[in-house]
Symmetry: C2
Subunit: 304 residues, 2 copies
């Protein structure tokens, strides 16, 4: 990382702390007056899957794109928290024995290890569900037009044409090796869709012009590709102690990645190109987009 890194890490940590507070409030184990009691065991599993020191990269992108577009910051925080719930649901289900069978996540036992498979399935289900409740709840200060657009876009990003569909393709890729186009589609769906939504959310909340929205969406797509390439590189070059999760799994499972197909030097060149592309998409926003430029480079160059 360059000289910008300390500032960026601090900004990322500040944003994460803001989102953490909102998530803590939403997943509060002490029910509010008049609230239906929530099964304590299930709530504990949801909390284990969410409140675990994640980087909160997706929330960060929601908050920064929302600030760029002049959107209400309280509304952005709620949408950021909703998106993080969807991300964490996907991790909980992906980690299940029936799926990727991972025991370790961010250095902690995964939800099905700390609880059990049934509770992990339900914790994922309820985190996905609560995301749509968070967006549409009266506490989210946005009009119904924005809320409807956010729900629609998030549901598309998370569903069969997005993240969950990408996970299905990923499972299939363990037995039938996809070609390059197949890998790109898979990754755009599995990882890219939520990062794309994160950046689109800022545009929806700020009710930008169609052109600005389109540029933020394409920025999200570019950093989504960069994120996945960096992830594939880290799986090859890092170790599990450093990452807090299993590494070397792609090769072990014979899973096709672009890094495996084209090699590390190619991947690093691609990453540079994607960062340039992401930067170019932000030109229209001028200096106000500086933090997003730094974020793009961070995503491409991250070491965990």
């Amino acid at each position: 990382m360059t000289g910008d890194a300390p500032d960026f890490s601090q900004r990322l940590a500040e944003r994460a702390a803001q989102v953490e507070t909102v998530l803590e409030g939403i997943l509060d184990p002490h029910p509010q007056k008049g609230e239906i009691a929530r099964p304590a065991h299930l709530l504990a599993a949801m909390r284990h899957g969410v409140l675990n020191g994640g980087k909160r990269l997706r929330p960060f992108l929601v908050l920064e794109t929302a600030e760029l577009t002049g959107a209400d910051s309280e509304a952005a925080l709620r949408v950021a928290a909703a998106l993080e719930c969807v991300h964490c649901y996907s991790l909980i289900h992906d980690d299940l024995p029936a799926m990727d069978n991972d025991d370790l996540r961010r250095g902690l036992p995964t939800v099905h290890v700390a609880f059990d498979d049934a509770t992990a399935i339900l914790a994922g289900d309820t985190l996905l569900t609560i995301a749509f409740e968070i967006i549409t709840a009266p506490q989210t200060p946005a009009d119904d037009s924005r809320k409807t657009a956010l729900v629609l876009s998030l549901a598309r990003a998370a569903g069969i044409g997005g993240m969950a569909g990408g996970q299905a393709l990923d499972l299939a890729a363990e037995t039938t090796t996809p070609d390059e186009a197949g890998i790109i589609t898979l990754q755009a769906m599995k990882t890219g869709a939520l990062l794309r939504f994160a950046c689109e959310a800022g545009a929806i909340l700020g009710e930008t012009s169609e052109e600005d929205r389109e540029c933020l969406i394409r920025f999200g797509e570019a950093i989504g590709l960069a994120f996945q390439l960096a992830d594939d590189l880290l799986d090859v070059t890092s170790d599990s102690d450093h990452m807090g999760k299993a590494t070397g799994k792609d090769a072990e499972r014979g899973k096709a990645t672009l890094v495996g197909l084209h090699g590390q030097p190619w991947a690093r060149r691609q990453l540079s190109g994607l960062v340039e592309e992401a930067n170019a998409l932000l030109d229209r926003f001028g200096d106000r987009a500086l933090i997003l430029r730094i974020a793009a480079r961070f995503i491409a160059e991250r070491d965990r």
Copy 2:
């Protein structure tokens, strides 16, 4: 059943056929022009879990309450289809080996048997997700205010304070026997929440008075209780060939039910009382609510 039954069964079948058409369109295996390709295997699993000849009781209630309130019938059909996707997602996940471990559903292999556990988990996830897409999509002819209210209410009905929370309590009840109040809470959440939403949906779509909406909600709660009591009775009195799913499982698992606690004659008296209560809640709607009155009796007296 009484002399009304043939008419009612026909009406239920007509409504089911209408919803089937909408669901077929939503889960169309041939992607529309410009649409992102959806993983075929996952889509097939979703179709297996949804297009299986269910009674479509929840959609029926959405459509009939919507007709009662003068709501747009196209919008009601879309919401009915969304609700059925949520119901079917819950069945797919509940049937998993990690949960209730059922191999048979409506006389067919459950999704995890016909496909595999991972695909069943993802099919449930994507059906839950698509429900929120269906409601908020431009094809649903309702304004953003109604869409927002529907998403919020459905998310609450399906989440930790509703259906999924009820399933968590139900799993816990296999090891720790709940008392009567515990059983009632469990059932109101697990089964009642979606039936309640079905009836509330008609009120939201029709933008009724607060009083009418409250009565339809309470009607939904009454038939929810009746539905569960009838279900518990059938588990004791029927056989699996007739039901198309396993029976006698409550007793086998030592699961506490109100029927087990108070006996069959008590349960039948309760059912009569619930049907009376449901009818009284419909008085304000006069003759237009006739089909809902018949539905309440059908739910209480059904034999499968």
